[in-house]
């Protein structure tokens, strides 16, 4: 991302559209699966998240969009325990009435509470088979230990069998039933993305974080992916989605939160967000650049090209 863009219009434009108008709208009775307030994450002098507030309703598909470097993945990393924000709180509520504070917990214990994620750059276990990849996710909830494994206790056999069965079911769900015993690194790119989703689902999440699941996939795979995300949400899993492809976001997300320079600049339905002047400015740099940003080709189509597309304009 070129630096002059970051410093130039961004600061001038963003202040009026900042998070100020966003946070007070919280209705206390809402059933939130994630209630993140005022998250601030700094790396030395760089502020990656600046007072971000994120409210994710249970069962909803919520998308987080924003230009490259806006802090989307940082937000994910705060929600999954990979980073610890300097300020702010994250309450995760796996089911109504039960709430956990996530800040400061280790990633694996957060996963155990019911938050699963995929990675922007696929991070499968390359030398393990597709089945084994999913098994690792499924087996984190199993109970037998090393002694049980050595002795081959009945419980170990039972859990081992049910783990394989559940893993195969999940592979079936993401359409990889025929790849069960194949090496994960040898799968095509789109299938690797879906395998990562299956592995995340294996951990039995209540909240699934997908970090650019459509990146690098072809149009037909994107359609399948949208279908898959809807299916997952249909099983009662809340989905938090980072995505650049606006067509996908439009088709699956109920709500969209827009980040820029670590701040929430807009929140609403996809259609609302696309017409939000602050969002258009964030993506285009200036509002009166030309007419592209208006009604017929909303910001989303430009977003769909990813970062380099914009830089070349």
């Amino acid at each position: 991302m070129s630096k002059h863009r970051a410093a130039g219009p961004g600061r001038a434009v963003l202040v009026p559209g900042g998070p100020g108008g966003e946070s007070p709208a919280g209705d206390p009775g809402a059933d939130l699966v994630v209630d993140a307030r005022d998250l601030t994450l700094r790396f030395g002098g760089v502020t990656s998240l600046d007072g971000v507030t994120l409210r994710h309703h249970r069962g909803e598909i919520l998308a987080v969009i924003g230009p490259n470097g806006a802090g989307k993945t940082s937000l994910f990393n705060c929600l999954t325990g990979a980073y610890k924000p300097q300020q702010g709180s994250v309450a995760f509520s796996p089911e109504p009435g039960r709430s956990h504070s996530i800040v400061g917990k280790t990633p694996h214990s957060i996963t155990k509470l019911g938050v699963a994620r995929t990675f922007q750059n696929i991070r499968l276990f390359p030398a393990l088979s597709a089945l084994e990849n999913v098994q690792i996710g499924v087996e984190m909830r199993q109970r037998y230990g090393s002694i049980g494994a050595i002795l081959g206790t009945p419980r170990m056999r039972r859990e081992e069998r049910s783990g394989v069965e559940k893993s195969i079911e999940l592979l079936e769900l993401v359409g990889l039933r025929h790849r069960v015993h194949e090496l994960s690194a040898s799968l095509p790119y789109g299938e690797q993305r879906r395998l990562e989703i299956a592995r995340a689902l294996g951990t039995g999440p209540k909240l699934l974080l997908l970090d650019e699941p459509a990146a690098g996939t072809n149009p037909s795979e994107k359609l399948e992916l949208a279908e898959l995300i809807r299916t997952i949400a249909g099983t009662g899993v809340s989905v938090l989605l980072i995505e650049h492809d606006m067509r996908l976001v439009m088709s699956v997300a109920a709500n969209v939160t827009v980040l820029n320079f670590g701040r929430v600049i807009a929140h609403g339905t996809p259609a609302e967000v696309q017409r939000d002047p602050a969002v258009v400015e964030a993506y285009l740099g200036t509002q009166d650049d030309d007419s592209v940003g208006e009604s017929d080709a909303p910001a989303g189509d430009l977003v769909g090209n990813g970062g380099t597309g914009r830089d070349q304009h």
């Binding site: 990633p107 750059n121 991070r123 050595i150 690194a185 040898s186 690098g216 990813g306």
Partner: protein
């Protein structure tokens, strides 16, 4: 910032596709010539000549202070250099023509390159082989001299057991432990402490039968492993290696300097193993054969136990940690706890071996030197990280070599040969003699730039990968 190139090439698992079957002898000859005189082939020739020269140097007469280059002169200019150049040429032919012979060799293995066979299905495949090897191991002592059998216990067997334990740490969980022998020392000194009033200055009020010390040493070594591991396992790769190295040194220095441990004089007169149970009275004495069979039984049990562990969710979680710790953690694997577990299991096996060793013979702190730690690491890597049978074979081969060289070269030179063998091995077969399938795949993937087979190395740095 390459947003567009989001699709990295998916590598094939097989390193090289086997060349198509040559039509006839002429075609084969052409292919052989092409392989030999290609750039790669000539480079291999260079390496082989270097190996030959090194061998000539190593086996030649020692240098003298008066004539520093005497050894070189004798090695290079004497007629015996011809022998080594012939060895080099043969080696070169073997290496360069290996790809041509490969299709014949791997005919039966073709299936292994395709879809991965399920782990559950791999289980009984090598059973026949394992049984055959076991039978060989059982009848072997009958054909060897007493001195050889003694070495089969002290050198081969004990180190095979140590390597099996270290294999859990290096091969399964992917951590480099360079102070592993310290746990062996803990086991040995624990035995001396609990079984005899005279072996070392410190002693337990009651002298126990060494058999009772097995569980004590097992637990103590595991505790020592956890104590060392808990603060240090957050470190990765090289840093962990350095800390464990220090730990090994500390334990040896304590053994060497504490008066409780008798210092450098070591422990004398630890009682031999004996059983007095249900009317059975048996004592292990000076004959090495009973020790051999006891050790063999323990090794077989440990191999079975670790095999089960490897195929369980624990083993899979270790593999996940080894391949991508961050992803493993995000998938709910408690990485720190599992690494500690691997450390404790490895340490306890080492402590176990220490009891066996101590109850058989005299020992002093020199036995627990850094060199011994390195030897165990070498055996694991040489035999095949992550493969139980591999590390045992590694111990047999390397320690067998040590026994063979015992009377042939000065003791100080022995490690030169070790080094040479290991270097050659790492160049031509980095996965070890009997590689583990998972490990083999990791290495082959790493050659294609996917993943990081070198679990001993640094943490994943694939952030700069696609996107």
């Amino acid at each position: 910032m390459s947003t567009t190139s989001a699709t990295p090439a998916t590598p094939s698992v097989a390193p090289t596709p086997p060349p198509s079957q040559p039509g006839g002898a002429a075609a084969l000859g052409r292919a052989a010539a092409a392989a030999l005189f290609s750039l790669a082939g000539l480079r291999q020739l260079g390496v082989c000549v270097l190996i030959g020269l090194t061998l000539a140097l190593m086996t030649g007469p020692n240098g003298k202070a008066a004539e520093p280059l005497g050894a070189v002169r004798h090695a290079i200019l004497a007629p015996r250099i011809v022998t080594y150049l012939i060895i080099a040429a043969v080696l070169w032919l073997l290496i360069a023509l290996w790809p041509l012979a490969r299709p014949l060799w791997s005919m039966g293995q073709a299936a292994a390159r395709g879809p991965v066979t399920a782990v559950a299905q791999q289980r009984f495949a090598p059973l026949g082989l394992n049984l055959a090897l076991l039978i060989v191991a059982i009848i072997m002592p009958m054909f060897f001299s007493n001195a050889a059998v003694t070495w089969m216990v002290d050198g081969v067997g004990i180190y095979a057991l140590l390597a099996l334990g270290l294999n859990v740490v290096i091969g399964y969980a992917g951590m480099l432990d360079l102070g592993y022998i310290a746990f062996f020392a803990i086991g040995a000194y624990t035995t001396a402490y609990f079984t005899s009033k005279t072996a070392i200055s410190a002693h337990f009020p009651v002298s126990l039968n060494p058999f009772f010390v097995f569980p004590i040493a097992f637990v103590l070594a595991a505790v020592a492993g956890v104590l060392l591991g808990a603060p240090t396992l957050r470190l990765r790769g090289d840093y962990l290696a350095i800390v464990t190295l220090g730990f090994g040194e500390i334990i040896q220095l304590i053994a060497n300097n504490s008066h409780w441990t008798n210092g450098p004089r070591g422990a004398f007169g630890v009682p031999h193993l004996s059983i007095h149970l249900l009317g059975i009275n048996y004592s292990w004495k000076l004959d090495p054969k009973p020790y051999y069979y006891l050790l063999l039984a323990i090794i077989v049990l440990v191999m079975i136990a670790f095999g089960r562990l490897e195929r369980s969710r624990i083993g899979r979680a270790w593999a996940a940690i080894r391949e991508d710790e961050i992803a493993a953690e995000a998938t709910g694997v408690p990485t720190l706890r599992l690494k500690l577990l691997a450390f404790a299991i490895g340490a306890s096996v080492s402590g176990f071996a220490g009891v066996l060793f101590a109850s058989k013979q005299f020992f002093n702190p020199q036995i627990f030197s850094l060199q011994a730690s390195f030897l165990v690491v070498t055996i694991v890597i040489f035999g095949g990280m992550g493969n139980r049978l591999g590390v045992v074979v590694g111990s047999v081969v390397l320690q067998g070599l040590a026994f063979y060289l015992r009377d042939k070269v000065p003791a100080t030179d022995r490690f030169i040969y070790f080094g040479a063998v290991v270097i050659v091995m790492m160049i031509f077969r980095p996965q070890g003699i009997v590689p583990s399938r998972r490990r083999k795949r990791e290495i082959s993937l790493a050659e294609h730039g996917v993943g990081h087979a070198d679990s001993l190395g640094s943490a994943p740095t694939s952030e700069s990968g696609a996107r």
